[in-house]
Symmetry: C2
Amino acid sequence: MTETVSRRITLASRPHGLPKPENFQISDVELPRVADGEVLIRTIYLTLDPYMRGMMEDAESYDDPIPLGGVIVGSTVSEVVESRDPSLAPGDIVESYVGWQSHAVVPAAHLRRIDPNLAPITTALGVLGMPGLTAYHGLLKVGLPRSGETVFVSAASGAVGATVGQIARIKGCRVVGCAGSDEKVAYCLDDCGFDACINYKTCGDFEAALREACSDGIDVNFENVGGPISRAVMMQLNEHARMAVCGTISNYNATDAEMVPDNLWWFIVRRIRVEGLLVTDFAEHDEAARAELASWIEDGRMIYRETIVDGFDNAPVAFNRLFEGSNFGKLIVAVGDDPTKG
Amino acid sequence: MTETVSRRITLASRPHGLPKPENFQISDVELPRVADGEVLIRTIYLTLDPYMRGMMEDAESYDDPIPLGGVIVGSTVSEVVESRDPSLAPGDIVESYVGWQSHAVVPAAHLRRIDPNLAPITTALGVLGMPGLTAYHGLLKVGLPRSGETVFVSAASGAVGATVGQIARIKGCRVVGCAGSDEKVAYCLDDCGFDACINYKTCGDFEAALREACSDGIDVNFENVGGPISRAVMMQLNEHARMAVCGTISNYNATDAEMVPDNLWWFIVRRIRVEGLLVTDFAEHDEAARAELASWIEDGRMIYRETIVDGFDNAPVAFNRLFEGSNFGKLIVAVGDDPTKG
């Protein structure tokens, strides 16, 4: 492929339930010339995140839905191929939000330069990118954990969950999670330093397992999944507990609204505070957060795990791994050569 | 009745749905002698509040349930008849928490002396008592309204709701409420200074009426009722809105858990913060709050409305008015002579 053509994946039709191949279309399009202030970038890595599923729905959300025929949104790590802006030069590595396409011409102002010496450049999509910042801001600014408290996080081995758990541990909290395989549970316990982690698929009575793992109750719930796990956690929250609502992945492919008992009364009983969080609300604190996360990685207090899928055209199939429980760690698609690798 | 006998109403059986006369028992019991540090008090006024219904259930709540055979809980305004504590003298007017009984012997330390010159002594059960303090702390410390924002309050003509609306107006907010009769709506609009008030029983499409009344959306919801009204309000909350959960009266007599759509996702879309509130958490600020409320009443910026039902034995029947919509303003039972009245 020449660098005047971009391969892109667009939304052919809106998924009903789990996305199917026919919901996506792959095509090659001519790129425009690079104008003043713009750069041509080549995608090296593309991230796959659960929030993208919500944007495929034609429903009100925190952002406009992807239009039919529009490129699937998302961040990339890309290399500058041609620049008509003094701030960037060919060979620079940048983070973009151009979505599922192999190349793009974009204003230089829309890009964030990445320092490849700080950490592997894939981390700009994971622990040092949106998922890591979501964990950092969401736990520390919405969850407000205090040393000695019990923090619970669902989807605990995921890109967000594992970071939440490790930050909570660094802050002196007792950390309990849940995940969907013994391998993921072992990762949380042995590699991330969780105090307890429940395999919710094999534990039997989840409420009983949760009560045993959180014998002092739960002070902070970092909510990633929604559904029955969320409700069990909510009933075991301590007085004045905080619940940071980051995601409700169990519902993202639901075709009917899930009906649950009205539990507003419980908010009073325990004086619970529940707050939705969106990482972009905290953008002014991103640089400081990224620096602190990088320092924890540098001194060995924080680890991360990534799963790299090869081949741009595999993005739609790989995407569903996020909802089927078969993905482990930050899911990334390798689209083009990584110049930072020997 | 001599003052060595107390007439009391106890819980004979737990109500299923709306309480019935047979759930209560009225009896006369001998009082103990007054020991050192104690006083004998005579009930002048008894308050009836919705929260008492929750305490008749054998379910976990923020306080222990009333045991079978136990006196129904609640505050009274009482007169000291005999005192064996230097802090109180016969004739003093006090607020107690002795519940539904005509007389009681209690430690002086459990009583709060009321200044009859500050305001009518009934206000110690209403605008200057638990309901007024709930409105004050709940709106200002949990709802956190800013001048120019839209505040919505359900059960708007009630003891809590009308106070919430007037405080919001004093703080420069646009105030919208809902109530269940044209008379209550007129009270909110004409007497309490609400900007809009919806009769939810006659308005037809409540969501549409709410959208029209709150054309800039809702920034603070002071939740008193739960159920369908609460959900309609939640869907019209603005980004970063706050919801202070004070009560869910629509559910208090429900015999099955009401099932509602799981709307945790909506917390993220609008970054809503929902927090349960209990007035006793703010006790250290009660004196300052009561002084400010009294000053607003004094300078005419705040009004209140009370409904007095005569006769101790009528308390159980009067209690149900709280749930049937037939009560208007703070519901109080007159039990004995009010010495502050000509």
